[in-house]
Structures are given as C-alpha cells and as structure tokens.
C-alpha cells in the first residue's frame, strides 16, 4: 500500500480544480480515490467529490463519474447517512445526464431519505436534489404540485444562509419565479420580480442579466410584447453575447417572437441571423471542450513511450526491484520555452545521476518522467544537484517503491503528480 500525505494530495487536487486543468484532474481523481479508499479516508473522498463532480459532469465526463461512484459505493455504509446519501445523489446525477430518467429519479429519492437521517439536516443538498427531481418529474405532475415543489425548494435553499449576495438571492428565487411564470401565477411572479429589481448587482454580471432577463420574461409571458421588446433589446445591446450564452439565446427567442407578433418583420429576420450565429458559436465551444489535449511524442532523444515504460517497470517492480519515479513539470513557465527547458533538464539529469537512468520520456509538452534505481536518501540530493545546474526552477515530484510495499508504475507516477500539484497549490497561496 502506497503511503501518502492526504492533505497534500487533496491540496493538489483542489489546485487542479481551481485552475481548470481537467485532463490532469480526470486521471488524478481516479488514482486519488483508489488510494484514499485503501487508506479509509472516506470523508476526504466525499469532500473531493463535492467539488470535482459538478465540474466533471459539466465537462460531460459522465462515464468517469459513474466509474468513481461505483468504486466508492461498496466502501460506504448505509449507517453513515450523509456519505451514503451523497453517493446516491451522485448516482442520480449520472443517470440524469445519460437521460435514464427512472433510474435518476430512484437514486435522487433514495438520497433524500438518507439526508433526512442526518444531524444537522443538509438543507442545501436536499434543495438541489429536489430541484433536479422537479425537473425530472415535471411532465407527470400537476401545476399545483410543481408550484409546491418550487416553493419548498426556494425555502430549503434559503435555510441557514447568511450574508447573501445578489447572486445568492437570485439563485434562491429563480426556480420559483420561472415556475410561477410557466404556470401563469403572474401576481406571485410579479411580487418576486419586485424583490429582484431591488437588488444591487455588479454591472454586466450574470445576476444582473438574470434580473433583467426575469423582467423581460414577465412582460413576455403576460403578452405585453411592446414592453418586452423594449426591455429585451436593451439586454441584447447591454450584455456581451458570448458570455451566458444560454440566457442570451433565450433573450433572442423572446425578441424574435415579440418582433413577429408586433409585425416588425425585417427586425425579426435580423435577430434570427444574430441568434443563429450565436447558436453556432455555442456549438463550436462545446466541440472544443470535448477535444482531448494532444500528447506530443519524441520531444526528447531516445525516449521510451509511457506505455512501454509502464510495462517494463511493472514487471521489474513485481520481481522486487526498487525504483524511484521522478516527474518534472514546467507548466508554470511560458509555453514557447517549455520544450527547451525539458531538454535542459534532461541534460542535467544525465550528467547528475551516476547510475544510468532506466527509462525516461516526455509525458506532454510540459512534463517529463524518469525512472531511476535508487532510494530516497540519494534521490533527494541528486534532484537538488540537477536543479542547481538549471537557470530555472521546475516543479517536481518523486515517489519510490520498496520491497515492503510494491506499488505499480502508475501509482508511483500519480503520486509524483500529486506532489507537483500540491506544490503549485502552495505557490498560489503565497502569491
């Protein structure tokens, strides 16, 4: 079993989340979860999940989330109501995204039962679960039921919240307001709109857009098309179109419909063109998100591929050979200089390590990995010597095997990454 400093592992993971390094996050999360489970750090796993899973799901990494949830579930006992409830909740998310509605509803509802066993009751988790359930069950429920749900959700969202920003307040009312409009409860909707309009929102912020959008929708739904058109035109000129695209697309839909109803046909056609261009922009954005970061090959001479390296090292480890894996990272430097830096590092490594480097390769444009046959006492001193010869200070992480605990190459590699990301997270704290 690979020993690890849990706090460093988590700091490193949080750094990846905050810096939107999703590729590294995806692979590190799988490694980290396995390690934390082995060492019984279930609560840390849940803390990681709470932060990482919404991001993973936004990035459409549903299969990874499903795999992670299935990995953790057997280790969580039903007696541990909050943890068990959370795992059911994440399962609900997965099925929600892959459009397995019945399964999603089942898991979300199960999670509610467990949340209610907790002390204190996790009102925010309950609110989010109820919100997703309301969306899933909308088509099979009456208007009155939907309104009840919306009201209850708003209240649960608001319990125990203090120091609320305009963003929090908009978030609390938004679902209830939309439900009121949809169900033509215009008096109730107007009462909420008046509250929202009293908020002071930062200029051009999302919450300001939401409030102005709410006003547009009120006049549109109450068929006051002239006022709605006036307001929505102001929104479309005031806010940048490529931010909050889904809200802007909705505004365009309203503007087009209002223009048509008021028989402003040329304006409606122009708006349609602008809307189509924005829709296309959104599609391009989504395509870019789904593209993987390309892994370059052979940036260093005589390198071995990572896959082959894994095979050779794992064979040797299984036979009791002890290795140290060292990873260098120059991602914090200018992109144009990274390859040169990795080459300089390689020269320094060859000159400093008196025993031959067993394997090495570039992992990507800003990372390289070395496998050397020595233990900790020597590795630290030698890395110091390598760094002393360089005109720059790369980040690095290393991890060694021992005869007592035989990890895999991948575990050594990922633990080395963990130390690098931890170091980056500490650098951010200082700056």
């Amino acid at each position: 079993m690979l020993q690890t400093d849990v706090s460093k592992l988590l700091d490193g993971m949080h750094y990846l989340i905050e810096n939107e390094q999703y590729d590294a996050l995806f692979t590190q999360l799988q490694f980290a979860v396995t390690l934390l489970l082995e060492q019984q750090h279930i609560e840390e796993v849940i803390a990681l999940f709470d932060q990482a899973i919404p991001i993973l799901l936004t990035e459409h990494k549903v299969s990874i989330v499903r795999e992670l949830v299935e990995l953790v579930m057997p280790h969580v006992q039903p007696d541990d109501a909050y943890l068990y409830g959370k795992m059911l909740f994440f399962s609900g998310h997965v099925y929600f995204l892959i459009e397995e509605t019945d399964q999603s509803i089942h898991y979300y509802r199960q999670s509610l039962g467990y949340f209610m066993k907790c002390e204190p009751v996790p009102f925010q988790s309950i609110a989010i679960t109820l919100l997703n359930l309301a969306a899933l069950t909308e088509k099979t429920t009456t208007y009155e039921t939907q309104l009840s749900y919306a009201r209850i959700i708003s209240v649960f969202k608001s319990i125990n919240t203090t120091d609320e920003t305009a963003k929090d307040i908009v978030n609390k009312y938004s679902f209830y307001y939309e439900t009121c409009l949809r169900l033509e409860r215009f008096d109730d909707a107007y009462a909420i709109l008046l509250k929202l309009k009293q908020l002071t929102c930062p200029p051009q912020s999302r919450e300001q857009l939401q409030v102005q959008g709410a006003e547009v929708m009120y006049y549109y739904k109450t068929k006051q098309y002239d006022i709605a058109l006036q307001l929505v035109t102001h929104v479309l000129t005031q806010f940048p179109k490529h931010q909050n695209i889904t809200i802007m697309l909705l505004m365009y839909n309203v503007a087009i419909d209002c223009s048509n109803k008021l028989q402003h046909v040329p304006e409606a056609m122009q708006l349609q063109k602008e809307r189509d261009a924005l829709q296309k922009h959104l599609q391009m954005q989504r395509m870019e998100l789904n593209e993987k970061f390309p892994l370059p090959t052979n940036t260093l001479p005589d390198s071995t591929s990572l896959q082959l390296m894994s095979q050779y090292v794992n064979d040797a480890l299984a036979q009791g050979t002890c290795y140290t894996v060292i990873v260098y990272d120059v991602s914090l430097f200018e992109e144009g200089e990274q390859t040169t830096m990795l080459k300089q590092l390689h020269t320094a490594m060859q000159q400093t390590f008196s025993q031959p480097i067993v394997y090495f390769t570039a992992i990507n444009r800003h990372q390289s990995v070395y496998v050397v046959p020595c233990g900790e006492a020597h590795t630290w001193a030698r890395i110091e010597n390598v760094l002393a010869t360089l005109p720059f200070a790369p980040s690095y992480g290393y991890c060694h095997s021992s005869k007592a605990a035989i990890p895999t190459f991948e575990q050594l590699l990922h633990m080395s990454y963990a130390y690098i990301y931890y170091a980056h997270s500490q650098k951010r704290k200082v700056t």
Partner: protein, 201 residues
C-alpha cells in the same frame, strides 16, 4: 404515492386534499429509505397529514380503527403531546407544512419501531409483521380469509404486542421521545420562519 385506506372518515373534498398531498412524491421520498412505499407506513403518513392539515379532525372510522389498530394508536400517542399540538398550530390549512410535519413524525415512528420495538418482538412476530407489511390488512377480515380462520388471531396478537411495546417506550423513554418531537418541531419552525422571510412583501 397511492392512497391507502384512512383510519379517518373522509368526505370527497378531504379525499381530494389527501390525494393532492400524496402527489408530492418527491417530498414523501424524505420518509426513511425503504418505507415510503410500504402501505403500512404510507397509511401512517397519511394519518399524520390529515391530523396536521385539518383544524377539526374528521371522525375516526370505527371499523377501520380496529383493522389498522397500530396506526390508530400511533396517531393518538403523538396527538396527545404538547409538542405535536404546537406543530399543528403551524400546519393547519397549509399543505406543504402539513406534509413536512407528517414526514418528520412518520420518521420518528419508523425509528422507534426499528430501533426499539422490533428488538423486543419474538422473531416469528417480526417475520409475520414484515411478511404482511405490503398487504392491505383489511384482507384478514374478509370472507375469503374467514373460511381459513374465523378470526385473524396471530395478526391481532402481533399488532397488540407492537402497540404494547410502543406505549411502554413512550412511558419509559418519555425524554427520548420528547427530544425527537422537539427536533421535528424545530425542523418545521425553521422551515416556516425561512418561508416567511423569503416570501413576505
């Protein structure tokens, strides 16, 4: 959630109110996992909702209180307490409040049954009770059953034992029972006050 027979005599309007409440499946899912679809506990949940929703309770159905005797005793035990009466002051006429109060009280009963009563019952009684948890107990009193047994002796014996243990718990563990009721009241109060803060003009 499907309506089950109530221990109260409901008129058409009251029947529709209960149906409307039971249509909020997502809220009823807040009942303890595994119990929100068991007729025995759905019935108890319904009874609690009716108690909390109507200022003046409908009359008990004398036949059904004999059949669903456990549910009848439970609602009586809860309704007698000052804390539950205080909760009712916040729930009368408000569907969502009455639903949430019913959820918390049903959960309290389920916990008492699982953690206390179940441990004291003979294993064969536990098995009987759980075997028929999904059945409508009115079947024990119909003509078809009466051909097998003129009187459902074991059924009545098991229910009587449960009721006896339940009342014993309330007598001997009154502090623990009151603590749970106070938590339920606090949950409801927090909800009601937050709602007032959020939706007052």
């Amino acid at each position: 959630m499907n309506l089950v027979k109530s221990v109260f005599s409901l008129n058409d309007e009251q029947f529709r109110d209960v149906e409307r409440a039971l249509s909020l499946d997502n809220i009823i899912a807040m009942v303890r996992p595994g119990y929100s679809e068991t007729p025995q506990y759905i019935g108890g949940f319904q009874d609690f909702f009716i108690f909390f929703y109507y200022e003046e309770l409908p009359l008990f159905d004398s036949e059904l209180t004999l059949i669903y005797m456990t549910r009848y005793e439970i609602i009586q035990a809860f309704a007698k307490t000052a804390t539950v009466k205080a909760m009712k002051a916040m729930t009368v006429g408000n569907l969502e409040h009455a639903l949430l109060a019913a959820v918390t009280c049903t959960n309290i009963y389920i916990d008492i049954f699982q953690n206390v009563i179940r441990q004291t019952l003979p294993p064969e009684h536990v098995k009987f009770h759980e075997t028929f948890a999904y059945a409508d107990w009115q079947h024990f009193f119909n003509k078809q059953f009466q051909k097998i047994e003129s009187y459902p002796k074991l059924f009545v014996q098991v229910q009587s034992e449960i009721i006896k243990q339940f009342w014993a718990y309330i007598r001997t563990q009154s502090d623990a029972f009151e603590r749970e009721l106070l938590k339920a009241k606090q949950f409801l109060q927090t909800y009601v006050m937050t709602e007032m803060r959020l939706f007052s003009s």
